[in-house]
């Protein structure tokens, strides 16, 4: 068969499932995802605890907010997820470059602890590149719920995987920086650091 027009590049239309998809399915069908494990690693502005299981990363906390104490992180983890977490030495693949570059989009996440609405909010936050910010209203519009600005704010405030899912890149429309789970000062440091990199 001769081709007068080049075949349109249909392979460009390949898509990857949304962030957290595999974890969602594994939980739904009841496949065990293994113990939660935690590593302490260097983040963009100080060390961070990152907890993960076989389905993906499920919990991130700045080490400073738990006084660099693995036992206090474990306490926080159990309070939030009702599960134990065991310290390990080896970070999951891709974690360190994602933290260094501020690009957490390619990592697997276990976001089964939050609602579908919150997952949509977090997936949208992942689209904001390092060095840039968006408003709460922008996120609300992107997920198709332009009136849900406050709900977007609380979903971001309860982000189980901050820093990697960059809720710190979402700010108030009046130019103020807005709240942050680890305090506004940390949010400012994260943004200043990203501005200096780009």
């Amino acid at each position: 068969m001769t081709e007068e027009w080049p075949t349109p590049k249909l392979s460009n239309l390949r898509a990857t499932p949304p962030v957290g998809f595999a974890a969602q399915v594994l939980h739904r069908v009841g496949v065990p995802v293994g113990d939660d494990r935690v590593v302490l690693v260097d983040g963009p502005v100080g060390q961070v605890f990152v907890a993960f299981n076989d389905a993906g990363i499920c919990h991130v906390a700045a080490a400073a907010v738990v006084e660099e104490d693995p036992a206090r992180f474990a306490e926080r983890h159990r309070r939030r997820f009702g599960r134990a977490v065991r310290p390990v030495g080896v970070p999951p693949p891709g974690l360190l470059p994602a933290l260094r570059d501020g690009r957490g989009g390619g990592l697997p996440y276990d976001l089964t602890s939050v609602t579908a609405f919150a997952r949509a909010v977090l997936r949208t936050a992942l689209l904001i590149p390092p060095g840039e910010v968006r408003t709460y209203g922008w996120v609300a519009r992107e997920i198709g719920s332009p009136a849900a600005v406050r709900a977007v704010g609380s979903a971001l405030g309860r982000n189980p995987v901050p820093i990697l899912v960059p809720c710190h890149r979402v700010v108030r429309s009046d130019g103020r920086i807005g709240d942050y789970a680890f305090g506004s000062a940390m949010k400012r440091r994260l943004l200043d650091n990203e501005a200096s990199l780009s």
Binding site: M1, E4, W5, T7, P8, K9, L10, S11, N12, L13, R14, A15, T16, P17, P18, V19, F21, A22, Q24, V25, L26, R28, V29, V31, P32, F52, N53, D54, A55, G56, I57, P92, P93, G94, R103, G105, G106, P108, R123, L126, L127, P129, E142, I143, G144
Partner: protein
């Protein structure tokens, strides 16, 4: 999170059926990693509604898990995984379309399905988005049988034998759907390109 394996679309995962037959729970994450992209892409490109595509893809794997739980090992070992999964995906999608036709329509988020490639830079993303969105729009206008056939053949790169198995129709029929779909796409792309040049000329 084991190895960060990113399988090619054509990769069936050597020995995966044996691992599924041996220990379903241990191997199921691999099935998701290997075939998740093809299943999700199929759901997304035939329907073009990102939220529905995720539901259909998740439901596909839930059904697949339930089926594999009930299959004797020899039946699992005999499966051709990709055509089998795609058949489930397409059945679920058709059921959903039928159910949705009895409900008020939801307006989809424009381009929302094109947006998750946060790994590439913003400029590249914008370029990719234009081309992909245009092509995806043209695809949606094709008649259903042509659209499904061309998605499986040229987006997923499935063999005609596998497509024929997935659709339950002869290879000759699949080939004719694919070539009609390509002809239609070429014509529409060519006229879109011409219009594009005209508008450029008008502007300058």
């Amino acid at each position: 999170m084991g190895d960060a394996r990113q399988p090619a679309y054509g990769d069936e995962g050597a020995g995966l059926v044996d691992r599924l037959a041996g220990d379903l729970d241990a191997a199921f994450a691999e099935l998701l990693a290997v075939h998740g992209p093809a299943v999700y892409t199929t759901a997304l490109r035939v329907s073009r509604q990102p939220a529905d595509a995720e539901d259909v893809a998740a439901e596909t794997f839930a059904r697949a898990y339930a089926a594999l739980r009930g299959y004797p090992p020899e039946r699992t070992r005999a499966l051709r995984l990709r055509p089998w999964l795609i058949t489930i995906t397409l059945n679920l999608w058709r059921n959903q379309v039928r159910a949705a036709s009895r409900r008020p329509t939801v307006v989809p988020l424009a381009n929302a399905g094109e947006r998750h490639d946060p790994a590439s830079g913003p400029e590249q993303q914008a370029l990719d988005l234009d081309g992909r969105a245009q092509l995806a729009d043209l695809l949606v206008d094709l008649p259903e049988q042509q659209r499904v056939a061309v998605v499986l053949r040229h987006v997923l790169d499935m063999s005609y034998a596998d497509i024929s198995a997935a659709l339950g129709c002869p290879e000759g029929t699949v080939k004719s759907h694919v070539s009609r779909a390509l002809a239609a796409l070429r014509t529409r792309l060519a006229s879109a390109a011409k219009e594009g040049r005209h508008s450029e000329e008008v502007r300058t």
